[in-house]
Symmetry: C2
Subunit: 242 residues, 2 copies
Amino acid sequence: MSDRVVPPAARRRRRPTKQGVVLSEELIVETAMRLLGEHGAEALSVRRLGRALGADPSALYRYFRDTDELLLAIADELIGRTLRTWRPSGDWRADLRDLGLRMHAGALAQPQAAVLSSYRVTGRAYEIQAVETALGVLRGAGFPDAEAVRIYHAFVDQALAFGALDSANTALPKAAREAEAAVWRATYARLPADTHPHIHATARHLVVDMRHSSYPTALDLFLSAAAARLAQLTAVGDAHPV
Amino acid sequence: MSDRVVPPAARRRRRPTKQGVVLSEELIVETAMRLLGEHGAEALSVRRLGRALGADPSALYRYFRDTDELLLAIADELIGRTLRTWRPSGDWRADLRDLGLRMHAGALAQPQAAVLSSYRVTGRAYEIQAVETALGVLRGAGFPDAEAVRIYHAFVDQALAFGALDSANTALPKAAREAEAAVWRATYARLPADTHPHIHATARHLVVDMRHSSYPTALDLFLSAAAARLAQLTAVGDAHPV
DNA sequence: CACCTTATGACAACACCGTTGACCTGTTAA
DNA sequence: TTAACAGGTCAACGGTGTTGTCATAAGGTG
């Protein structure tokens, strides 16, 4: 059955479920995100979602072709929330920095959804808007098209990848997370100087540093390198004007 | 039943299965990796693995507490393989570049194991060895301890994060992956100039660039920035010698 | 050699999962 | 007023991870 899903625009009959709930794409996505936030990634199944909504699980297939399409809708909503409050200042470096930090924070706000969706291309409205915006910042800064795309790609993947990595860690069961923190104190900090000189010498820093996300550091290094590259390109451009 | 798994050292009775196979932790991990390599991510289930081994699925629970523990065993083997062939040249930048690319390639070689293990700290032998090695490269290059740790953290997280991101994409069902490729051609490449000027102007580059991993770009930017930072630190160090 | 213990494999069952074809019914447009 | 049909429901299929129970061959002991 491939024509089960009716495009949102064409929906007109809002028939309530047995339990009196009127379904909609928005309500389903909202409920899914609530489930994720409350009970973790494994709580998101078609059946559970149906139960949470007060509808038969199969009713969801009138709104999403399959679970993957639902996941993409969740991802896009996440992007939308991140983008909604962002305002460009005109300084490309500050703008990208702000955007990156917002994406990262947005991922951490919904770790389970971020883990499941960070590596997907949705092709949906918010995502398109985000691409357009970020590309605009880079082209406005003076990056030539090919370079703007390269830098954009690395920038957005870096934000998504770190967001997912840190989200996955956040979403870990409490016991596992504490066990990992203990490893740095109990294992690494106690390695002797003769077998592990470098770890031994820096143990103090490792214990402190490894607790936090390294994304801010990675982001700043990224922006520095991008700025250097822009300066280089501009210099060449000036030497050989079109 | 929590004491189902007998520690490998205590195993003595090697009773063959009905089909004449003698099980072992190594054989199971090997077979799992072969299965993954041959038939993709979705081919790895306890039942399939049992079938491939010529044993009842439940027999695997004598060797691994659950599928997660099996996956960590696979991941550990993966780390070992990645590190085993790496040799430092003495040029810190080339060495880090090589290490990063190897980690990334290693992740892509076993995508689903990478996805599930990238955000974990194991504290096991291979991991410790990797930390010691990478820290040694950075300190050898002249980074002061605190800075070496900062850079190390960002470097390793970046490699892991991109490895996981690209792995997750690789591990996608074929249909979903093709759908994503199509989104760039069918959706993004066709946006009109008046509503989405930046995407429209760079569509040609986007279609080509978004197909590949952006890790090499991100890695090179990272190394450039780190080199610049080192030069800066060294200059300060020379100006104010201890 | 025979006996006993027990590690380990096999079996069957459980509770889930995503998905779909067939059916039924309330909403809506004509 | 009514007929069409969108959309909710039901039941089923074939998969999944996991576990309680049982059978038996391996290996130590005498």
